[in-house]
Symmetry: C2
Subunit: 334 residues, 2 copies
DNA sequence: GCAGGCGATGACAGCGCTGTCAATTGGCAC
DNA sequence: GTGCCAATTGACAGCGCTGTCATCGCCTGC
């Protein structure tokens, strides 16, 4: 039989309730008492029984990470960060893939909640921006944190300054002397799409370059969308000398299409992406891009959620730094 | 307050224990009684409280998926499959990334087990092949299932016939008239590495082609290893007309290196990979490869594990079908 | 030195379910 | 119709912990 809280109490010469207080880091335990209990717990290698704790405390010590189809690299990073945070506070994490477009999306989250009773949810884009879901969560009074939500007000989570990052990567191209810079946008339903377009326009505007709608092509974050957009752009009589694709997959598609058109990257055309996914290092030339600290974003968002759950503060919306990764796909304008 | 088992019992006019029996699908409940209970449960939208169940039954209804660094695509697929299986039987799943090389690897699994008390583990390569871990799991009497383990005997899980798949993809090259076929191996610590090499040798042997050690280069499953191996192979005076890389990332590296050497794929050299990861469709030319049903492998392995946990059978080691995906990176020998 | 007040600790019940074992029922042979 | 056995059902305790509230002890101020 395992070591139980009662055993620790006996060994420490206190009541079970006092051990419980120490375990849960509650106030009103005298220093020496706490020490005694901690020593006994360590000596006996005590581990609280999660189910017993949950049952008695009416909390699950469980956080659910909910996602729909982000790239698996991104997801794995976020997931790892959330796990980091959960481990720090002895919470568990479960994962739940869902289809945000499906009719029963909100209902499925209801089911998730009533089955597993997570103490809080961690949402990833685009689930962060589903109004009915957020309304339902408020209704059920289930706390949640969001990674890169479209609307940050009133919620807790983590984000980077996307427009600024986009300005910076476009600024890098401007600094190399490029003036005809095209942009391939992301999927219209993602917040990132708008932010990156905004950053692109702001950077051009700050450099005194007029906005040319012919240089902006709608994509959807996929490799093939990058190919299609690039075919269109490279067929223009006055073709761009640089392309800012709203993510790395599309940038890879642009680079492929460049080869198809007999254009060499970066000699004839510079290409930049966004996200710093592994593909940015797996293609040739390697891709200049923006690195998001995805794992850290998952971790921080989860930590803020846990802080709120544990009643240590309200939970904040935290801004994290990004970093421009200059690689081989960009060069001075020829 | 939520609906409890007691409420259902009252509504159905039976004792709580009988409801429990129906809930747990136990024998010795008469048909009509079962119906009555099921009807009451449905009418009241009853959900058992997981913690209460775990506490009383001394089982967690939890499976832990343990992994070290597989590619995130592979991991996500496996994870989704395991979740599919867990959902089918109202189990939960947790995930746990670990470093198999670290000194405290087994200890960390011990900690995982004593903290979260999963009823079983789901192992992915290369964790499937860690003798001390497996020994420890037997010692602790914790059931586990393995996906693609090196040693299948006596364990439960899912696998594909890797040597046969390798024979098939090499056979595809042979069918295109290739005779000088090189092989870039995987990381020596992975079972797949040996199987794929074996399949390669068997295919050549069956075609009456002598084995040439100069055409086999050791890699490690990474893009850059593919590049390095290909540089070596393409510098041979009698260079190969086709390359079988032990996974897609290395195949992508081979294709890149071909460009570097002024070789066109597939005109001058055919390249095949293994795994059918997204990169096989994101590069140009798209990659001929072997598709593993990873999600299904996760699902089936988990189902077998659950069957064993629930006492419905012993749990089997199940073979699943693979499929050769012919794409653009292979062509008849020039 | 003593009342008053607050911080620290403990007693106790019970969270929602299942294991054990006892009680009851139904079915069948005769 | 009766007796017997197995199948079915129920009573009860308790899984390991925490919430609530009562109690205890110590320090403060006069």
């Amino acid at each position: 039989m395992r070591v139980r809280l009662e055993d620790v109490a006996r060994a420490a010469g206190v009541s079970p309730k006092t051990v419980s207080r120490v375990l849960n880091d509650e106030a009103n335990v005298r220093g020496p008492t706490r020490e005694k209990v901690l020593a006994a717990m360590a000596a006996m290698d005590y581990r609280p029984h999660p189910s017993a704790r949950s049952l008695a405390a009416n909390r699950s010590f469980l956080v659910a990470t909910v996602y729909d189809n982000p790239s698996s690299n991104y997801l794995t990073e976020i997931q790892t960060g959330v796990l980091d945070a959960c481990d720090e506070h002895h919470y568990s994490m479960m994962v739940r893939p869902l289809h945000v477009e499906s009719a029963d999306f909100v209902e499925r989250i209801d089911t998730l909640i009533s089955h597993h009773r997570p103490d809080g949810l961690l949402l990833t884009p685009p689930i962060t921006d589903h109004p009915q879901l957020l309304a339902r969560l408020h209704e059920l009074d289930v706390p949640y944190a969001s990674v890169s939500p479209m609307n940050r007000s009133g919620s807790i989570g983590a984000f980077i300054d996307e427009p600024k990052a986009a300005r910076e990567v476009v600024g890098h191209l401007l600094g190399l002397g490029h003036r005809r810079i095209a942009h391939v946008t992301g999927h219209p339903s993602h917040g990132a799409t708008g932010w990156r377009l905004t950053g692109y326009r702001e950077a051009l505007s700050a450099a005194g370059i007029p906005f040319d709608p012919a240089l902006v092509v709608e994509g959807d974050f996929s490799f093939s969308a990058g190919v299609a957009a690039a075919r269109q752009l490279f067929s223009l009589s006055d073709r761009p000398t640089a392309v800012f694709a709203a993510n790395d997959d599309m940038a890879a598609g642009v680079i492929w299409a460049a080869g198809e058109h007999g254009l060499s990257v970066p000699r004839d055309v510079s290409v930049v992406g966004f996200d710093d996914t592994p593909i940015s290092r797996q293609i040739w030339p390697t891709l200049t891009t923006i690195r998001q600290p995805s794992r850290e974003m998952g971790r921080i968002a989860a930590l803020e959620l846990l802080a709120a759950l544990r009643g240590k503060g309200e939970g904040r919306m935290v801004q994290l730094p990004y970093a421009l990764q200059v690689r081989e796909s960009t060069a001075p304008v020829g």
